[in-house]
């Protein structure tokens, strides 16, 4: 029986780059503090055990999600449930930017980051494999979903979490400062604030956003972790630019009330979305095939379809999924 009410802690830490041992100590300490303050679940940022700008250090700091090196975390999760980010090494020796959910001494869920930012100061596709699974999972706190940073900038990832009936969406990030302008928050941070509230209110979800702080190679991480309720109200908020541990209550009765007032989730038509996605995927695939015959012909064909020519890569993913050939698996099993 899932709990209707639980206390969630956001551990806004400053992980040390490439130093898993130091980060393990930091995580264990914060976990103890959260437990002492009455938290049932504690969230740590993206790549909390490893630091972010790892580059060629990725394979050197990677861990198996169910391996002996994480026995300490499974042990600690007997006392308090945990969400934490790390580099996961798969059995195929592919490295993932992953988030683990553990409770009652067991690994319950692994989310592998699907959208790996590779633009501007980001270079994740160079170092990580792509996750291929989104949606929700069951926990002792009800239905949850995990996202990692860039995942949440894709409305489809949030949509899939909501469609899979997640009541609490946990997003962990290592969001750097960029675009400092006139505002109190850098441009990207201001967008995060909107994303968190828009997602929470649209689908009637609790959104727990946990970001890190500190500097790596001169790049600062802005923190600003927060728990936002289904009405878009802030339940708990950590400061910007400095470490913090904040607690807030997730009360699923608020979710019930919000979903009575706003029936977007109930009314969402998955079959309509599916059939339309299939139709659009067919059309862009046709446009791509035509484009391969010759650039000029491709342009003409795309115009006929009212769409720009798609690359092979753009159509590869929906085709694969439709044919059930997704290669990645969720979780360690």
């Amino acid at each position: 029986m899932a709990l209707d009410k639980f206390v969630l802690a956001l551990a806004q830490i400053d992980p040390r780059l490439g130093d898993v041992e130091a980060n393990r100590e930091q995580v264990a300490r914060r976990l103890g503090e959260a437990r002492a303050q009455g938290a049932d679940l504690v969230i740590f940022p993206e790549l909390a055990l490893t630091g972010y700008f790892l580059k060629d250090q990725v394979p050197e700091v990677a861990l198996r999600a169910d391996g002996p090196q994480l026995a300490w975390l499974r042990e600690l999760s007997k006392e308090i449930a945990v969400v934490i980010g790390l580099v996961e090494e798969s059995r195929a020796f592919i490295y993932y930017n992953a988030a683990l959910y553990l409770e009652r001494g067991e690994l319950v869920h692994v989310h592998r980051k699907c959208y790996l930012p590779t633009y501007g100061l980001f270079d994740e596709l160079r170092y990580f494999g792509r996750g291929r699974r989104l949606g929700g999972f069951d926990s002792r706190f009800g239905r949850m979903a995990l996202l990692i940073c860039e995942d949440m900038w894709h409305p489809s990832a949030v949509y899939l979490a909501a469609a899979d009936y997640a009541a609490t969406m946990v997003t962990i990030s290592a969001s750097p400062v960029w675009g400092v302008g006139k505002g109190e928050l850098p441009e990207n941070a201001a967008h995060w604030r909107k994303l968190v509230r828009f997602s929470a209110e649209t689908w009637g979800l609790f959104v727990a956003y946990c970001n890190r702080v500190g500097f790596e190679d001169g790049v600062g991480f802005w923190g600003g972790s927060e728990l936002v309720d289904p009405f878009g109200q802030t339940v708990a908020a950590a400061p910007c630019y400095e470490e913090g541990l904040v607690l807030g209550e997730v009360d699923l009765r608020k979710t019930r009330r919000k979903r009575l007032l706003s029936t977007t989730l109930r009314d969402e038509d998955l079959q309509l979305t599916l059939s339309e996605l299939a139709r659009i995927a067919r059309r862009t695939a046709r446009a791509a095939e035509t484009a391969e015959l010759g650039a000029a012909d491709g342009r003409r064909a795309a115009q006929d379809n009212g769409a720009p020519p798609a690359s092979r890569d753009e159509v590869a993913a929906p085709r694969k999924t439709a044919a059930g050939k997704g290669t990645s698996r969720r979780g360690p099993g």
Partner: protein, 283 residues
């Protein structure tokens, strides 16, 4: 150039939240120094706004007693530069030392009397660099940089001279933003408002030498580099095509100054090409 602010979202975008910028840069300096186990900084003080701001931010981050400002005049340097540098020392409470570079510069150019102003200017910048690095050992410190984003992009600096440092707190601030932050930190008006000059020869000013003002070029660089406006869009905003082209060429031609020396690739993992680690690796 026409004044554009607000309406089409260009000029005003250079405006910074100065409190956020100050807080981030102070935290950055503290982090970059303490991470490598060094608590002290040496910085060359010219009396200009860049080095004054760099020193003031370091004083806030590390404590004024942990910052050593080196004043390194040449016999042709203006007396007011030195007075302004002293003013920054007393205003910020940092330590200071005067090292006159005239003997070593003049001794060198006695052998090469034909050397032009450019060679002399570069030599002075590099002499000052070696003095800073020497004192960084004596003072157990890191060399703090003073190059701003405008001069780094334009290549308006001496590679391995004034461009050399261990930690540069100003490298992502355009000159106009340096002015705004220096003003917000309460640096003396005579320093913030004076004509920028490398002071390598009598009467030299940056804007005279460059042929445009910092305000003009900062707005162009911001739109071109940060916002990635095309040439066509920039000209459409009223910027002169020859100005856009000249600045774009300066940025391209000085790219080498912003990179490590190029390495001939032979092995499977070449440094900085396919051997890639953060600078903070192991820190």
């Amino acid at each position: 150039m026409k004044q554009r602010d607000g309406g089409n979202g260009t000029a005003w975008q250079l405006a910074l939240n100065l409190e956020v910028a100050r807080r981030l840069i102070v935290a950055f300096i503290r982090n970059e120094f303490l991470k490598v186990g060094v608590r002290r900084a040496v910085v060359g003080l010219s009396g200009g706004v860049d080095s004054s701001l760099s020193a003031a931010l370091a004083a806030e981050a590390l404590g004024p007693q942990n910052v050593l400002g080196l004043i390194m005049p040449y016999r042709l340097s203006s007396a007011s530069s030195r007075a302004d540098a002293q003013l920054v020392v007393s205003k910020t409470g940092i330590r200071s030392l005067v090292v006159d570079i005239t003997p070593q510069i003049d001794a060198y150019f006695e052998r090469f009397p034909e050397a032009d102003q450019r060679r002399r200017g570069n030599k002075m910048a590099r002499e000052r660099m070696t003095i800073l690095y020497d004192h960084s050992v004596a003072f157990e410190a890191l060399v703090l940089g003073t190059s701003n984003k405008t001069e780094l992009l334009l290549g308006y600096g001496t590679v391995y001279g004034d461009m050399a440092s261990a930690v540069n707190p100003l490298g992502d601030l355009y000159k106009t933003q340096v002015w705004a932050l220096a003003h917000a930190l309460g640096l003396p008006q005579e320093i913030v408002q004076k004509q920028p000059s490398a002071d390598l020869w009598v009467g030299q000013t940056d804007e005279g030498e460059l042929g445009f003002t910092y305000r003009q070029v900062d707005e162009l660089l911001f739109l071109m580099v940060d916002r990635r406006y095309s040439r066509e869009e920039l000209v459409g905003l009223g910027l002169a095509g020859h100005f856009v082209d000249r600045v774009a060429a300066m940025v391209r031609q000085s790219q080498f100054k912003r990179r490590l020396p190029v390495i001939a690739k032979l092995s499977e993992r070449t440094i900085d090409r396919d051997f890639r680690y953060a600078r903070d690796w192991g820190r």
